[in-house]
Symmetry: C2
């Protein structure tokens, strides 16, 4: 059956029509208004999906799977939270459950804006603002999700941080994070009222006392990132660099299906994870069933009340799909770009388009392989072409950019970049004390230490769904007069993970994690076909084991987790991370002690960027990035890029730098010093250019 | 004084005239022929150079420094080795010394070719070849540097590995590494005669017995990398991707001086290190005096005689400048490219041009920073532009690509890629035994485990020459009811390295290495200005401490070394690595126990790629790569890329993918699934595009 509007592919994201229908079906059960929290595709159970995908890949008729939509909603202005699954094919509700009061839905922009207005109108808050003597300087507030630190706290809260626009320009686009104020406010999101005002430390003090004086505003050298407002003009030295593909792109995009250079996969999207990769096949063989960033957690390391409550789950508390940027042609992505969009539901139950949430384009990443035979002078060169899928999320001050990068070599990389603006807190400009858990990043501006902890969920299907995860270490051979007489030998030692649990990275043993199919033996290596995860060896959560940060962020305990596949086990800190008590998550799943050998398993990788800010990160942060790789090891019989055509000038059309056109060049000296200034024609006859 | 032909800059590489002059001056001392080994610039003593550079930067007149050329040579056909330094400005020899017999110069292509001919003509070798019954299959040999394993061995030797061309095509361009033979030969390079024939293991045997039978040749599925000889035609799916800079490049190249986006540095070149970065300044402040790959070592892990002698120093034994590829326009580099060349000396004392040894071009590396203010919808985006300097070396079977990458953010990266062909040894195609220290990569082809161990030499000058190296760990705060009541706190702890020695990496403490200038305090952080090295946490040498691999490769003991600067301490395994007994090197330098605090120091970083081959690495290896970063931390007062102009479509000229032009696209389905197919004009009005 062809994919049509009435029968979308089971992995296609929720359509606007489906979301609208689901909202309507839920709403008509009530006479009171509802406060919607999210809505998106409920993926089919794996056993059902597997049958569909197998038929699809075999070119056989498929049986349409009913489309289900998952939603969370509150009865407005009450703490009553529900989750529901609506079958929009048959037009009926198939699951509906009220959650206990310990469980809270994500925060949303509409309610946070309302809470912000409530805070600004509050008399006690106005009194604090008066104390600060701000004059006409406009106040800007950042409402955050709230890191509950009290077992008995069941109210749904927001913690609101206060700033002003730049006193020098009061511009709506000014960087308020450069002008933090000395108090913050907690608002009850159900009652919509201020429940507490907390003062913030202004120096190295261990205990914060209530401030009584006016603001002591700092004067950072460059507080602004908006080019219109910066103190210096833009440089004029940068020349354009453009990427063109005159014959079009090498990929085909058919709905949500991408085919590119032996790769075939589907691109999903939902409110929480944002971009998801489904059903990835390489060279007509299955490799990964599902790939996604499953959660992230950003705990802060300034121990002082109230800052200890800063610890956000940006997927579970906010939603990577909900916060996805609209990527504009020519700004966020360079080259020949395709876009994919998605849809989410807002607090009012309206369907909101997330246009251009994902951009797709090819990238040249240098040389893939090269060899020169010195006897003949012949060189063979092939370039490394990649396909990048990129999405950017904005969560209050920070931006995160996530890339799935496919390579002609059968490798997949997941890249994470952190940019945007540091979360700041004020510091008295006259204070010169050392603050052991923060950095001064501008005059009057302190940026506390924090960690960005990510978890990648890898649901493999290496030549089939029954896989084993093992780790392989490189170890010295013992000295032995017969076996290792010169002490130069080393071996690899493989240890299978047989029970669900955690494992450690170990770069000092060159440890890699293999995902293999014990039933498929590679005829060359005589070993099971496999992919390897090249993990990031990084620091775990620094907060204490009995801290709330630790309690609620299960996946931060260890870098590697293996679980037995179970439907709906997608989010390792639980489905309800906001103000979580840590009751559900991956710790519970591994505690089942399931057998995970040669079965349908999931591999989870936690990696951390411990971020101790530097002034170079201010007023906005040059992206810090980290890449994880999944690579074939004995999956293929030989290098899958042998048939990539040779790199040559006719294809690449590089041009030669001409120093006489550059400002300040000295052409005579260039020639004297052996600079090649020949034109491209002469170079085209170089020995590597096999046309 | 301007830089002219008569007075090159003291850091300009040796010119062809200077090398020719030096050869002549040395030669005329002798009546017998000489065998030259290398020749290149002897850099001035640092105290002299510092004065010159200080005057240059201050725009004051400079005092020309005499140009010196360093050379090694043998009296031909004798073991008598000399090093010499020739002052080519004054035309006289200023240093000349005969080396003891324990010291050997690098191998060179001319003598190795001669040794190859000697081996092929030897009667015992011919007898082995006859035994193998090769018919008309042409034999190809790979002479290597020899890993001496005997204290008393003073002869200069080469170990020669034997292969044939592909029996199916006997083509000169065929990949002989796919057809290894079962014996190898050792030749005396002075006497030019075969001294030993060693048989190679053909299976899992621990001790190799002498083979008596014919060759058992394997039949690898795809042994060839040359596209003309491969079994399958090239794919036709890949569309061109071109990089254009219609207004020219943003860098200026004046002789060997590069200026680009607040960066200013000189590019050196010599026979041994290849590309060197000198006198790097960022934003009119000195940061690094000298940056180079100082040595590399590739020890093999198959413990069996004779393979335990495979362990090559590709810089010291061969020379990264000597083996640098001629980078052809449009093959090795993409975009708007400038080239730099260099010169070396061959065995006959002739000057050889290494044309296009270094290519230089800009690269777009995605987004540098972005923030969207959700209140206004305004987004500011700046792209990450980099300048890449690339060189490629071919050492027998392997290629290494080295990049220095400069970023507008003040960061420098050094990237290493390994590609080319695995070193192979034969395996009986009928043998199915597990080989614990090697991988079968093709039928009849075994690739032993090995490590690629690199050392980066970093001579910093962070705002001046007196620096301190320290390491900074991120550690949890102890739980304390007053200081850390919620257990969320963490701090950084800095430890200065005060005495020359080694240090360890520790990703589990987020350890970074800071290079700071204690005399220059950043007015924002109130701490010394600094750069940090983000090291690679990797495995040390796996060979035993009492192995010859370990004995001669000093720098493989530890990932981090700090020494007090001393002229001519450039090569951490010694100046004479070939067949070295390990007598001199960085272990001796740190043993001096010098004070290294707040002084002229050198930081050395050893990093390892433990390479356990996979069939995907055969017949040629998709590049494996590793990047090291040097980043400002409290060097700048704020983000140095604020003034990079905003990313916009007028500058970037991206284009929109049009699915109707692609093969297999379904335009109707694309529209139904929310694909944006609007043209570029509409996107140009996106909110981030500040024109």
């Amino acid at each position: 059956m062809a994919i049509t509007q009435t029968h979308p592919h089971p992995l296609d994201p929720a359509t606007p029509e489906e979301l609208a229908q689901a909202v309507e079906l839920v709403r008509k059960q009530y006479e009171v208004p509802l406060h919607f929290k999210c809505g998106g595709l409920e993926e089919p159970p794996k056993e059902v999906l597997k049958k569909y995908l197998a038929a699809e890949h075999a070119g056989q008729p498929v049986e349409a799977i009913n489309r289900w939509i998952f939603m969370m909603y509150y009865i407005k202005r009450t703490p009553r939270l529900f989750e529901v699954i609506v079958d929009v094919t048959d037009g009926k509700i198939v699951h509906q459950k009220e959650l206990p009061r310990t469980h809270h839905a994500p925060v949303d922009r509409i309610e946070l804006n309302e809470a912000a207005q409530v805070a600004l109108a509050d008399e006690s808050v106005k009194s604090e603002l008066d104390r600060l003597q701000l004059g006409d300087n406009v106040v800007v507030v950042d409402p955050w999700d709230y890191g509950k630190d009290d077992e008995n706290e069941q109210r749904r809260l927001t913690q609101i941080f206060f700033y002003t626009r730049n006193p020098k320009n009061n511009d709506p686009s000014s960087n308020h994070y450069a002008f933090p104020l000395d108090f913050m406010v907690i608002v009850d999101l159900i009652e919509m009222k201020v429940i507490k005002i907390c003062h913030l430390p202004l120096g190295a003090e261990e205990i914060t006392t209530k401030h009584t004086g006016p603001r002591k505003v700092g004067n950072p050298e460059e507080p602004e990132y908006d080019h219109r407002l910066q103190s210096k003009p833009a440089r004029t030295t940068l020349k354009p660099l453009q990427v063109i593909q005159p014959d079009g792109a090498s990929f085909t995009l058919t709905g949500r299906l991408i085919e590119w250079e032996k790769w075939r996969f589907r691109v999903g999207f939902n409110w929480r994870e944002g971009m998801v990769i489904h059903d990835a096949w390489f060279d007509n063989r299955p490799v990964f069933h599902r790939l996604s960033l499953s959660e992230m957690f950003v705990p802060y390391g300034d121990p002082r009340d109230p800052l200890h409550r800063k610890g956000a789950f940006d997927l579970g508390n906010v939603g990577a799909g909900i916060t996805a940027n609209d990527l504009s042609l020519g700004c966020d992505c360079l080259g020949l770009i395709a876009y994919l969009s998605g849809h989410v539901v807002n607090a009012n139950g309206e369907v909101v388009a997330k246009n251009n949430a994902i951009c797709i384009h090819e990238v040249d990443a240098g040389i893939q392989w090269k060899h020169t035979n010195h006897r003949t002078g012949q060189a063979s060169v092939v370039r490394k072409r990649q396909l990048q899928l990129q999405t950017i999320i904005t969560v209050a001050n920070y931006e995160y950019i996530f890339y799935w990068i496919f390579d002609q070599s059968g490798e997949i990389e997941f890249e994470t970049r952190a940019t945007g603006i540091l979360s700041t807190t004020p510091i008295d400009p006259d204070c010169k004390d050392k603050i052991p858990f923060a950095t001064r990043v501008g005059d009057g501006v302190l940026a506390p230490y924090h960690q960005h902890i990510f978890n990648l969920r890898i649901d493999p299907a290496i030549d089939g769904h029954n896989n084993t995860v093992s780790y392989v270490d490189s170890l010295p051979m013992p000295r032995d007069s017969r076996l290792n007489p010169y002490g130069t030998g080393y071996i690899t030692k493989e240890t299978s993970i047989t029970k669900s649990g955690t494992a450690q990275t170990d770069p000092y043993k060159n440890r890699i994690f293999k995902i293999s199919n014990p039933s498929k033996i590679n005829p060359v290596t005589l070993n099971p076909v496999a992919y390897k995860l090249v993990p990031i060896a990084s620091q775990v959560l620094l907060a204490a084991d009995d801290s709330w940060h630790h309690r609620r962020s299960h996946f931060t305990d260890a870098p590697i987790w293996v679980t037995k596949y179970k439907d709906r086990e997608l989010f390792p800190a639980g489905d309800y991370t906001n103000q979580s008590s840590g009751g559900e998550g991956i710790r519970d799943w591994v505690a089942r002690d399931d057998n995970v050998e040669n079965g349908d398993i999931v591999l989870w990788h936690t990696y951390t960027f411990t971020h101790n800010p530097r002034p170079e990160d201010f007023p906005i942060m040059p992206a810090e990035f980290v890449r994880i790789a999944l690579k074939p090891v004995g999956f293929c019989n030989y290098n899958p890029t042998m048939d990539v055509p040779p790199s040559n000038q006719a294809f690449n059309k590089s041009t030669a730098y001409d120093p006489t056109l550059q400002v300040g060049a000295d052409a005579v000296t260039s020639k004297l010093n052996g600079l090649s200034v020949q034109g491209s024609d002469q170079h085209a006859q170089g020995s590597c250019c096999q046309k």
